[in-house]
Structures are given as C-alpha cells and as structure tokens.
C-alpha cells in the first residue's frame, strides 16, 4: 500500500509537468487552432536559460523568476515575428512552421549549450520525507505544488480578470471580439507568451529528474499531447486533469504491469491517444462541436 501511494504521488509529479505543457498546447490550440509542436523545445530552451543563470551564480528562485519573464517575452516575440506573418494562411502551413521551429530551437540549444546532458539542481532536495510510514520525495511534492500554483494562477487570470475575458473572447470568436473593441492580435501574442511561461514551468520542473539536454522535452511533449487529447483539445481544465491522470496511470502501469516496465510507457501514452480518439474524440472534458444550421 505504501508503495502504491508513493507511485501515485510520483505520478502526480510527472503528471503536473505533463499537465502544464498540455495546458500550454491547449491555450494556443483554442485561440488559433494550431498545434504548437515547438512547445516542448521552447520549454527546453527555457530550462537551459534557467540553468545558465544558476550556472552564473544566481540562486534558483531569482533565476526561475527571470526565466519565466524571459520566456513570456520570448513567446510574445515569437508570435509576432514568426507566426503573425502567416497567421491568415492555411492552417497546415502554420503547423509545419511550428515543426520548423521545433527543429530550429533544438538546433539553437545544441549549438549554444552542446548536446551533453547536464545535471540540473532543482530547488527541492530528493531526500524523502516520511508521512505516516510512507516516504515521499520532497522533489515530487515541490513539483506538484509548483504545477498546481502555476495552473491555478493561469486559471484565475483567465476567469477572473478583464484581460482573461479578452483572451477568451479572442479565442472564441475573433471577429466578434474586434467588434467589441478587443485588440485580437495583442491577445494572440499574449496567449503565446502565457503558453511559453507554462512551458518554462514544465521544463524547469522536469529538468532535475530528467537530464538537461536539447531533446529533454521531446518525450514529455508526446505525453502532453496524450494528456491534451485525453482531457479534450479545447478544455484547459481537461488538459491539466488529463496530465495528472496520465502521469499516475503511466507510473502505476510501469510499476505493476511488469511487461510494460519503464520501456513501454511511451507506447501506453500513444495507446491512450488512440483509444480516446476512437472512443471519445472530444476527450473527457471537451465538447463535440455542434453547430446550429
């Protein structure tokens, strides 16, 4: 039983990371219909920036704060310089552009930081703490806390502020949004900035348990896609819950189903994508698009 609880908590920690990245994907997808394949590499780049700041003697938390800020700015700039010029072009073109971005950012991180894996010392020790006979890793608890806080903050921004209302309006109906005076292009740029922030959180949280190297987030991105599909591509709440469910599921299957073990976890995630698309394409929390005719 103790082992089971440990596995669940550790699954929630990975799930928080998947959920944050899945939320980033869903935010952009909802606003523009684009699947941002570069989201994982953007997160890796953020983690490298944070690592460099720490390497230059910064303490973790100031470095983390600066990384969040730089990632936001980077996301905004990326939208304005790369995405906006082809915003009105065919969707496929934009999707392919994000794949190009994936390759470009991957190349950039390899060029600047090299391909060798780096040790990333997170803010939380990996030492276990004992709660009622069950040993939890402090790192897991910390990662869960950070993921939850960042997701809740983004949620409050979207549901409780005027800016969030504008972001939702621009995503729901850009034409109408402009008619009531919302500056839609600004909102889209802001959306990319926020997605980059969530990616940065995911990247920095993932880096201590994975090794920091240019391809670090590629598998995580696939898990995040699975989480987003599971929750519903258009449901922010679904993305986060999908991430948590997937994290726990993968951990439990990896632990208790011996022929899956550690190696077949990715296959399980892909099976989840396939299963959801076959049985409930809108995902757990997504709505099937219904149109009045």
């Amino acid at each position: 039983m103790a082992n089971f609880i440990q596995q669940v908590v550790s699954g929630l920690a990975s799930g928080g990371i998947y959920g944050a990245l899945a939320l980033a994907i869903v935010l952009i997808h909802r606003a523009t219909g684009v699947l941002n394949f570069a989201q994982g590499e953007m997160a890796t780049l953020s983690a490298f920036v944070c690592w460099s700041l720490i390497d230059h003697g910064w303490a973790f938390w100031p470095a983390f704060g600066a990384t969040i800020f730089l990632s936001f700015a980077g996301g905004v700039v990326l939208e304005q310089t790369v995405i906006r010029p082809i915003q009105n072009g065919p969707l496929l073109g934009i999707v392919i552009l994000t794949i190009g971005l994936l390759i470009a950012i991957n190349g950039l991180t390899t060029w600047v930081w090299g391909g060798a894996a780096k040790q990333f010392h997170g803010p939380f020790s990996t030492a276990p703490i004992n709660v009622g006979g069950v040993a939890f890793s402090k790192q897991d608890i910390g990662v869960i806390a950070i993921s939850v806080v960042s997701v809740v903050l983004i949620g409050l921004l979207f549901t409780r502020t005027k800016l969030g209302l504008g972001l939702r309006a621009a995503a729901a109906n850009p034409t109408e949004a402009r008619l009531v005076g919302v500056r839609v292009p600004g909102m889209l740029a802001l959306g990319w900035g926020l997605a980059a922030v969530l990616g940065a959180v995911a990247g920095v949280m993932a880096a201590p348990s994975l090794f920091l190297e240019p391809n670090m987030m590629q598998t995580v991105l696939l898990y995040a896609f699975a989480a987003a599909v599971l929750g519903g591509m258009d449901s922010p709440v679904g993305a986060v819950i999908g991430g948590l469910v997937l994290g726990v599921l993968l951990n439990l299957v990896g632990t208790y189903v011996h022929w899956v073990g550690g190696e077949l976890r990715l296959a399980v995630a892909l099976a989840v994508i396939l299963g959801v698309l076959l049985i409930r394409p809108a995902g757990l929390f997504g709505r099937t698009a219904v149109r009045r005719v």
Binding site: K162, L165, N173, A177, R178, L179, V180, G181, V182, R183
Partner: protein, 243 residues
C-alpha cells in the same frame, strides 16, 4: 439621390460619401452616400445583395472601403473594428453575434470592453430591458433561444453605451412577440439619445420604427428621406411593403 434628407439643422453624426467596397472581384457597394444625424433612427432597406450588410460593415470597419466616412465631422482614416468600437460604434451583426461558448454575463461584460469597467448600473439597465437575461446569467450564450440571443446581442451593445448602434436584421427568424420586444427596446434606446441605424428585410417594421430611411439597390442608394414619405412612396410600397 437625396442624401441630405430633412435632418433639419441637427449635427450629422455619420456621413458616407461615395463609399465603395468590394469582396475580391465582386463590388458590393458602388458608391453609397448617406447622412445620419445625431439622435436619428435610420432604416436601410433593400433586397438581398443590395449592399445593406456591407454598408454596416463599412461603417464599423470590418470591410475595406474607398470613399470618405465621416464620424462626428471627422474624416476617418485607417479604420479598424477595434478603433470604431472605441469611438462609440456598436455593431450587432446578422445572426445574433454573441460569443456562443461564453456565458451571458461574460458576453455583457465584453460589451463594456471599451468602457472603464463593468458598471453595475448599465448591467441593471440591460436586465431591466431584458429580464430573461437576468434569469440566466451563467448560461452559455449558444444554448439560448434565438430571441434570447438577439436580446443578448443587443444588451451587449448597450453595455458599450454606444453613440451609434448598428443592427443587421434584428428581426430575422424571431417570433413576432420577440420582434416587438426588441423594437420597443430600440425605440426606447433611441429616445434616450442613441443614434440607430438598422438594416431590415421587414420594411414595414423598420419604417414604423425609424425616422429616416434609405433604399439600396445593387450597391447604390436609390431613395432616401423621411420614413413616413418612403412609406407612402409608390415604388417602395410595391417593392418592399408588398401592397
């Protein structure tokens, strides 16, 4: 063409001078000129494809145009829908443009986007006009009935406290009772000082509510004047009123 139509000495809030608009190869407006006085209630009549909707879209900046558009006696350059909303133009497009995935209350809040904040008094005012919205603030706009959606669209426009309210076919597909309710609200808004331009297929309804009217045919203004005069006009009667 009588473009300055018995508006008396009232200041003109809006003036279109030879406005042309095209969608790709197709020219929708061949040079529309019209004037709307401050506080006026103007109906734009015409058959399908006459350019009524495009005229509204030209005013709200959702279609590219050539020719001059004057608002408040200032010529407008580089118009965009956002800028026009800020100037006090609220456009309720055809098909009850609401944010269908957002709640009733969020839709109304968005109406006040150009305002400093959501004023509880304005909100109360909208709810007083349309009690049915008050009963369901959290309902998704897309799940409202057609009439309720039109009320919401109008309520949202009211939240912007517009100087000029543009409505495209507000009666389309609605039950007569609801249509009466909507037009009563428009009349009341107009009496409160809001200038209104309404595009309507239902000419009898529009001419009864409006003070002035213009008739469009194939992208041109062919007739304009007092609503009462147009109602009596032989060709308007035959083509648009059907008696």
């Amino acid at each position: 063409m009588r473009s300055s139509t018995g508006c008396g000495s009232d200041l003109s809030l809006l003036e279109l001078r030879d406005v042309q608009a095209r969608y790709g190869e197709i020219t929708a407006l061949h040079g529309v000129s019209l004037t709307v006085a401050e506080g006026d209630f103007v109906a734009i009549l015409g058959a399908n494809g006459a350019g009524k909707t495009t005229t509204l879209r030209a005013i709200s900046g959702t279609v590219k145009t050539s020719g001059d558009i004057l608002f408040d006696d200032h010529k407008l350059f580089r118009r965009s829908p956002e800028a026009m909303a800020r100037k006090g133009v609220a456009h309720v497009p055809e098909g009850r443009g609401t944010f269908s995935t957002l709640s009733v209350l969020d839709n109304l809040r968005l109406g006040a986007w150009v305002q400093r904040g959501v004023s509880p008094r304005d909100l109360a005012n909208v709810f007083e006009f349309f009690p049915r919205l008050y009963e369901r603030p959290d309902q998704q706009a897309g799940t409202l009935s057609g009439g309720e959606q039109q009320m919401l669209a109008l309520g949202r426009a009211m939240m912007a406290k517009p100087r000029l309210l543009l409505l495209d076919e507000p009666s389309l597909g609605l039950a007569p009772l609801v249509v009466r309710e909507i037009f009563a609200a428009l009349k009341q808004l107009n009496e409160g000082g809001t200038t209104i331009v309404v595009v309507e297929q239902n000419a009898a309804l529009a001419l009864a509510a409006a003070n002035h009217a213009y008739v469009l045919e194939t992208g041109r203004v062919v007739l304009g004047g007092d609503a009462a005069d147009l109602k009596a006009n032989e060709s308007v009667r035959r083509s648009y009123l059907g008696y």
